[in-house]
């Protein structure tokens, strides 16, 4: 039973990690907390649902669509909206992101209605046994994709010119400008990458769970918790944060009951913020 719980936690944690990756990137580079993150995840889920439903495209394959669509959307939002206020007081961008979230959610409610949708694939819930524990294939594959995407982002950020430009901008805005980096463009691209990651998370989410227009809010909150646990500014942070939260939740809800899930995660959030605001990875160096 312990093994099963551990596996449940790890598989879910991988998804949490991917969900938080985009939020962590945007936060780290531009100091924007993207409250609308969950809303972008939701759009990613709907892209997958509609491609599957209308054209029968396999949900894993639809990553090829949801990622660029969400990149484009994020690019536009940053370029034409958030860039306009990015130098205002810190909470201004926060409340702006809230406005965007409310707008996206309500638009989705009008377009998609509140009906519960499900991507129903033939291999949906098939599974295999592993030392007495049961492992669903889809969750395992989704977990694999989440890790792959994280590695891909790591390479993008550390090995490419774009990645270096993004990192330079986040470390020294004026310096970056001096060496000829077009900051507004880099910001738009970064936000686009962040939402593209949200889109990928949305696709994987839609394969495992049903999709509704209101699902975003809870996912944003989860992403916060993961981002805070992992700490900002590293690629490893969200992964560690996600796995930590996934495992703690799995064991915690097993001991205390399912209704305690949010109490557990938000208590962790507050405790970590108070005692080690840089996240569990960096706390020792302080």
């Amino acid at each position: 039973m312990t093994l099963q719980i551990l596996i449940n936690g790890i598989l879910k944690g991988g998804l949490y990690g991917l969900m938080a990756l985009g939020m962590s990137l945007i936060w780290g580079v531009m100091n924007i907390i993207n409250i609308a993150h969950g809303a972008f995840i939701m759009i990613g889920s709907y892209v997958t649902f509609f491609l599957f439903n209308s054209f029968g495209i396999d949900p894993f394959l639809s990553l090829v669509f949801s990622v660029p669509v969400l990149f484009f959307l994020g690019f536009i939002v940053q370029k034409h909206i958030i860039n306009m206020v990015i130098r205002a007081e810190i909470f201004i961008t926060l409340i702006l992101a809230f406005g965007i979230e409310i707008f996206i959610n309500n638009t989705a409610l009008l377009i998609f209605t509140a009906d519960v949708r499900k991507v129903k694939v033939a291999y949906g819930a098939s599974n295999f046994s592993f030392f007495g524990a049961t492992i669903p294939y889809v969750r395992l594959i989704a977990f694999g994709f989440a890790i792959l995407i994280t590695i891909f982002l790591f390479i993008l950020m550390s090995r490419t010119k774009l990645g270096r430009a993004i990192r330079a901008t986040s470390q020294d805005l004026e310096g970056a400008r001096l060496v000829g980096i077009k900051v507004s463009r880099i910001y738009a691209i970064t936000f686009g990458i962040g939402t593209a990651l949200a889109g990928a998370a949305g696709t994987l989410w839609a394969i495992i769970f049903p999709v509704t227009p209101t699902m975003g809010g809870g996912l944003t909150l989860k992403s916060f918790v993961v981002t805070i646990i992992g700490g900002l500014g590293t690629m490893l942070g969200p992964v560690i944060g996600g796995l930590t939260l996934g495992i703690i939740e799995a064991f915690g809800t097993n001991w205390f009951g399912t209704t305690f899930e949010s109490l557990i995660s938000f208590t962790i959030l507050v405790i970590i913020l108070i005692f080690m605001p840089k996240g569990i990875l960096k706390s020792k160096k302080e």
Binding site: W27, N31, I33, I81, N83, M84, V85, I86, R87, A88, E89, I90, F91, I92, L94, I95, L96, F98, G99, I100, E101, I102, F103, I104, N105, N106, T107, L109, L110, V183, S184, Y187, G217, L221, F224, V225, I228, T259, F260, S262, L263, F266, T267, L269, V270, L273, I274, P277
Partner: protein
């Protein structure tokens, strides 16, 4: 002087209004506006004057609402006692939670307060004394039908006036100067010998106190409450948006913001059954982009028309 006239006119109009309005809905609607005005003005103390953008102020609202419910229906206390105790409990909670949380700055403070609010909601959903997630009844007020509507209107009005007077008083005293000093530059305020921890805690507790009172009124008016609606993060957002829309860091800004937003959204939702939901999102985005200093600044600023709005963008874009 202008402010005084405005204030006095407003009080007189408000006190007299129910005498001429026989329509209970208008009174109820005015009460809801007053409650939001209290929330926005209370947020203004910590967010606008002290510069700590709390994204979890709804926790005080929820604590106020639930304290009143539990005190009245479980302990059998009367409303007035429960009402005051609710405010005090919310203030006390603000003080205690403020000690660690107010050490955080910027985004971290915002997220920490949001986390506190969500954690308390989850706790209330799991407690037996609050009847968990299934909700709790309050005894109904023992008044005539019209009496009920007048009662809630006047009690909200009294709280709002008290809140505005308190804020005004503080702003003229050292406490107010210190609060603004913290907002402008906390480190130098600290080095000038301002006890920033104390000032911040007082500011947070005051905000919590009035927000708790508003929660108490809300609960008694509803007669039945559940955790999700009274701890809803959307209420925090609404209070911030109203404060920003009217004018952050000004005495009457939040009041003006809440009146405008509530009236517009009521009008829209009675004409557009579905599409009105887009309003709140749009107004947030437009306000933040074009008038982040709020209506008060739009009226008071020397620039006018398009150039005012464009200038706001020019100042903050990258």
């Amino acid at each position: 002087m202008r402010k005084n006239i405005f204030f006095i006119t407003l009080i007189i109009v408000s006190i007299a209004a129910p005498l001429f309005i026989s329509n209970n809905f208008i009174l109820r609607f005015a009460t809801d506006i007053l409650i939001f005005a209290i929330l926005a003005s209370a947020w203004n103390i910590i967010g606008g004057f002290t510069g700590y953008a709390s994204f979890g102020n709804v926790v005080f609202f929820g604590i106020g609402a639930y304290s009143t419910s539990v005190l009245m229906s479980v302990s059998g206390l009367g409303f007035v006692v429960s009402f005051l105790l609710s405010g005090i409990l919310a203030a006390f909670f603000a003080f205690i939670i403020g000690l660690p949380v107010l050490r955080l700055k910027g985004h971290y403070f915002a997220i920490a307060t949001l986390g506190v609010a969500e954690a308390v909601k989850a706790l209330v959903q799991n407690l037996d004394i609050t009847e968990g997630n299934s909700g709790i009844y309050l005894p109904p007020p023992d008044l005539s039908v019209d009496g009920i509507y007048n009662f809630f209107f006047y009690i909200s009005l009294v709280v709002l006036i008290l809140l505005l007077l308190t804020t005004r008083l503080i702003l003229k005293k050292k406490l107010g100067y210190n609060m603004i000093a913290i907002r402008e530059d906390e480190d130098s305020a600290n080095s000038m010998g301002v006890n920033t921890t104390m000032i911040k805690s007082i500011s947070f507790s005051l905000s919590g106190f009035f927000t708790g009172l508003a929660g108490s009124i809300y609960a008694y008016q509803q007669g039945f409450i559940k955790p999700e609606p009274v701890f809803n993060v959307l209420i925090t957002i609404k209070m911030i948006v109203m404060a920003v829309f009217g004018g952050l860091g000004s005495l009457f800004g939040p009041l003006i913001g809440s009146i405008t937003i509530e009236v517009i959204s009521e009008l829209l939702s009675s004409y557009f059954l579905m599409a009105h939901t887009l309003f709140l999102g749009i107004i947030i985005v437009l306000t933040i982009l074009f008038a982040p200093k709020g209506l008060i600044d739009v009226y008071g600023n020397k620039r006018s028309g398009l150039s005012y709005f464009l200038n706001n963008i020019k100042e903050h874009k990258v």
